[in-house]
C-alpha cells in the first residue's frame, strides 16, 4: 500500500504520462488516430458496437496496466444495435462502482457518448480523463 502511494506521489511530481485504454465503437469514433495527439499513452480497442464493452474487459484493461479506461459509444438513440450504447453505459456504471469499492477510484473508468466521427468530442473525453487521472496518479494495481 505504502509503496503504491509513494509511486503515485513520485509520479505526480514527474509529469506522468497516463496510460489510457480506449474501447470505442467504430460507429462513434471512426478513426482512433485522432487521439494520438492527446499526450497520453493510448491503447485502442475497436468494437463493432458499444455493447461489446464487456464488464470484464474494463477490469482487464486496468489489470494490464491502464491508468484509466474510456469507453466511447454512440449517443442514445443512435446505436446500430439500438440498445448497445445504453447497456454499455450501465455496465460501465456498475464497474465504476466496483472499482470504487476495491479502492481504485471509479474515476478511472468513464463512458462518453460521441456522435459519429466527432473527433473533437473524443479528444475532449480523453483530455478530461487525463486530467482526472493526473490528480489520481498512476494505477496502483498496474
Amino acid at each position: 500500500m505504502a509503496l503504491s502511494v509513494a509511486k503515485a506521489i513520485s509520479a505526480k511530481g514527474k509529469g506522468f504520462k497516463p496510460r489510457i485504454t480506449v474501447f470505442h465503437c467504430v460507429s462513434a469514433l471512426t478513426d482512433a488516430s485522432v487521439l494520438d495527439s492527446s499526450g497520453c499513452d493510448i491503447q485502442v480497442v475497436k468494437m463493432p458496437c458499444g455493447i461489446a464493452t464487456r464488464e470484464v474487459f474494463l477490469l482487464r484493461a486496468l489489470e494490464s496496466g491502464a491508468d484509466a479506461v474510456v469507453a466511447l459509444v454512440c449517443p442514445e438513440g443512435q446505436c446500430r444495435h439500438l440498445q448497445g450504447n445504453i447497456r454499455a453505459a450501465k455496465r460501465v456504471a456498475r464497474m465504476k462502482k466496483l472499482v470504487d469499492e476495491i479502492g481504485l477510484d471509479g474515476r478511472r473508468l468513464n463512458l462518453f457518448n460521441i456522435s459519429r466521427g466527432d473527433a473533437q468530442a473524443a479528444e475532449r473525453a480523453i483530455k478530461q480523463t487525463a486530467s482526472d487521472v493526473a490528480s489520481l496518479g498512476p494505477n496502483p494495481a498496474a
Binding site: 463493432p48 458496437c49 438513440g77 446505436c79 446500430r80 444495435h81 439500438l82 440498445q83
Partner: protein
C-alpha cells in the same frame, strides 16, 4: 414408360399450392430489428396494432412475445398510423436496420437477396419488406443489366395462370418424347454425399409438383428418388458413381457432366469426413476416404468419343433425352455445336461463379467465363449455324434469382439451371463451409447424422415450391409489361435489355443503380 404430356401452367390452370413454411430457426433474420426495452408494461398495444405480425401476443398470455423483427417493414412504417414505435405508451420500442445484414452474404448474393429469398420460400409471395432481391453488388454482368423501361401501352392485363412459363427440352424431332417443363428452369445436380438426403429428395418432390426436374449430381441414385424418377435427371459424371443400367433407365433426361462451372478441369472432390457409410455404399467406396472424381472422362478425348457415349445412353434408355453439361471456355460456341452434332438435346453451359460443394478458391474465382458472356456468344453462333431451334440451351452458374433467369433468357438461353437459390430457400447463409469437417452447420450440405437431420423432406419441398411460385409471379409481371404471354417469346430478346455501362449518363439515371455493399447501413 409413357410419352410425357405437354403440360404447363399456361394450359393447365392449376398451380402448385403455396403453404406458409416458416423458418426452422427461432430467430429469423430480417432487414430490420425491433427491440422492446424493460420499460414495456406488457400492455399489448403493439400486438393489436401491427398488421405484419411483428408483435405477437398469444390469446390469454400476459406478455407480447419477443418481436418478430424479420416481419418488420422498417422505418418507412413511420408513415403509418399503426407505427408501433410512436404508438407505444411507454416508448419502449425501437426499430432500426439490422446490423447483421452487414455480415450476411457477399457481392453476388447480397444480404437483401438472401433475406428476400427466405421470405419467398416462407410465403410464396414477393417480400413486402423493401428488399432488393434481384440485383447484387457484383458490379457487372446481370447486376449491371436492366430490362428496358416498358411502354405502358404494351401491358397485357391477364392473370398469372394464363401466362405460359414453360419450355420444351426436346427440339431435335428425333422421335424421342417431348418433355415440357412448366418453369423455365430446373434444379442443378447436388450429389448424395455432398448434400443431405432430405434436401435432395425434397428437391425431387418439389420438382414433381412444379413439373420440372432435378438432377442426381454425381453421387449415385438413392432409392428414395425412385418414386419421383420422372422428375430426376441421372447425371453421368467422370466418377460414374452409382451409374447403372437401371438408373439410366429411370431417367427422363440423362446428363453428361463434362465440367462444372465452379471447378471445370478439376474433378469433383468429396472430403473424407463426408464419406459416411451410407455415402460409401452408394458410391461403392470406402468409408472416410476422400473421393476425387477423375478428370476428364478417360474414354472421351474427342467429339467422336463423346458421341459414342451419347449413343450408348440412348441405347440403354430409348426414351431418355440427353443433356451435355459443360463449362464456358473461350470456345464455348464450338463446344455447343459439337455437342449438338453428337446428339444432345440439351446443351447446358455452366458459367463460373456458380455454386459448388467445395472447390479451391483460386478455381472458383478464375474459372472460364461468366455465363453472361457465354449465353449471347453461343446463342449467336447457333443461329449462324442454323441450329438454334434444334437444341435446348440451358444456362447456369451465377443465375441467382428470377430476374437473372429472365435476363439469361433474353440473352439467348431457353432456360436456366438453379442450384444455390434452392439452398438459399432452405436457409443456407452462404457461409461457404460446405466442405470442411462435419460440413454444413445449417444441415444442408452435410451427411453428418446429427446435422443432416435438421430438415425434413416436406419442409424442403414446400419451401422450394413457394420460392418458385414467387419467382413465377415476377416473370409473369415482367412478361405482361412487355405484352408477352409466354416465356418462349422472351428468348434471345436482348433488345429488351440494357447494360448500365453502355448507356449515356442521363439514360443510365433512369434505371435502378447497381446497389452497393453496406448502402443501407
Amino acid at each position: 414408360m409413357v410419352v410425357q404430356q405437354r403440360i404447363h401452367y399456361g394450359q393447365a390452370s392449376r398451380l402448385p399450392e403455396i403453404v406458409e413454411t416458416p423458418s426452422r430457426y427461432r430467430n429469423p433474420i430480417g432487414k430490420y430489428i425491433v427491440r422492446r426495452s424493460s420499460r414495456c408494461t406488457s400492455c399489448g398495444r403493439c400486438a393489436k396494432l401491427c398488421p405484419y405480425g411483428v408483435h405477437v401476443r398469444y390469446e390469454g398470455y400476459s406478455q407480447p412475445l419477443r418481436p418478430r423483427s424479420d416481419r418488420c417493414i422498417g422505418t418507412k412504417c413511420e408513415a403509418n398510423k399503426f407505427f408501433c414505435v410512436r404508438n407505444c405508451p411507454q416508448q419502449a420500442l425501437s426499430v432500426g436496420i439490422n446490423p447483421i445484414m452487414e455480415t450476411l452474404g457477399d457481392y453476388r448474393w447480397t444480404p437483401e437477396m438472401i433475406v428476400g429469398h427466405w421470405y419467398m420460400a416462407e410465403t410464396g409471395n414477393l417480400p413486402v419488406v423493401d428488399l432488393e432481391y434481384s440485383l447484387g453488388f457484383s458490379g457487372g454482368g446481370f447486376d449491371k443489366m436492366r430490362f428496358r423501361i416498358p411502354d405502358k401501352k404494351d401491358y397485357v392485363d391477364i392473370p398469372d395462370v394464363e401466362i405460359d412459363t414453360s419450355i420444351d427440352l426436346n427440339r431435335r424431332d428425333d422421335g424421342r418424347p417431348q418433355r415440357t417443363l412448366s418453369l423455365p428452369c430446373y434444379s442443378g445436380g447436388m450429389s448424395f454425399g455432398s448434400t443431405a438426403l432430405s434436401v435432395i429428395v425434397g428437391r425431387a418432390r418439389a420438382a414433381k409438383r412444379l413439373n420440372t426436374l432435378t438432377s442426381t449430381g454425381e453421387g449415385g441414385y438413392p432409392l428414395e428418388f425412385v418414386p419421383y424418377r420422372n422428375s430426376v435427371i441421372t447425371q453421368i459424371a467422370t466418377g460414374l458413381f452409382g451409374v447403372r443400367e437401371e438408373t439410366i433407365q429411370y431417367a427422363p433426361v440423362v446428363e453428361f457432366k463434362y465440367a462444372q462451372g465452379a471447378k471445370p478441369g478439376l474433378g469433383g472432390h468429396l472430403l473424407g469426413d463426408k464419406v459416411t457409410p451410407e455415402v460409401a455404399r452408394m458410391r461403392e467406396t470406402v468409408v472416410g476416404s476422400a473421393l476425387f472424381s477423375p478428370f476428364p472422362f478417360h474414354s472421351v478425348y474427342s467429339v467422336e468419343d463423346h458421341k459414342k457415349h451419347i449413343d450408348w445412353v440412348k441405347e440403354i434408355n430409348p426414351l431418355a433425352l440427353v443433356s451435355v453439361k459443360v463449362s464456358t471456355p473461350t470456345d464455348a460456341d464450338m463446344v455447343a455445336v459439337g455437342s449438338y452434332y453428337a446428339g444432345a438435346h440439351i446443351v447446358h453451359f455452366d458459367g463460373c461463379y456458380g455454386g459448388t460443394g467445395a472447390a479451391p478458391d483460386i478455381a472458383k474465382k478464375n474459372i472460364a467465363m461468366p455465363i453472361e458472356y457465354a449465353i449471347p456468344k453461343v446463342h449467336r453462333f447457333l443461329i449462324a449455324e442454323g441450329l438454334r431451334n434444334k437444341v435446348c440451351l440451358m444456362a447456369s452458374g451465377g443465375v441467382r434469382n428470377a430476374m437473372d433467369v429472365a435476363k439469361a433468357i433474353a440473352l439467348g438461353a431457353d432456360g436456366c439451371v438453379i442450384g444455390t437459390a434452392d439452398l438459399i430457400a432452405l436457409e443456407c447463409v452462404r457461409c461457404a463451409n460446405c466442405e470442411s469437417g462435419r460440413g454444413c452447420p445449417r444441415g444442408i450440405a452435410t451427411t453428418d447424422p446429427e446435422l443432416g437431420c435438421m430438415l425434413t423432406e416436406e419442409w424442403v419441398e414446400q419451401r422450394l415450391v413457394n420460392m418458385y411460385m414467387a419467382w413465377r409471379k415476377q416473370w409473369c409481371e415482367l412478361l405482361r409489361q412487355f405484352g408477352m404471354k409466354s416465356m418462349r417469346d422472351l428468348v434471345g430478346r436482348s433488345d429488351l435489355l440494357v447494360h448500365l455501362d453502355y448507356l449515356d449518363e442521363d439514360e443510365r439515371r433512369k434505371y435502378t443503380p447497381a446497389p452497393k455493399p453496406g448502402a443501407a447501413l
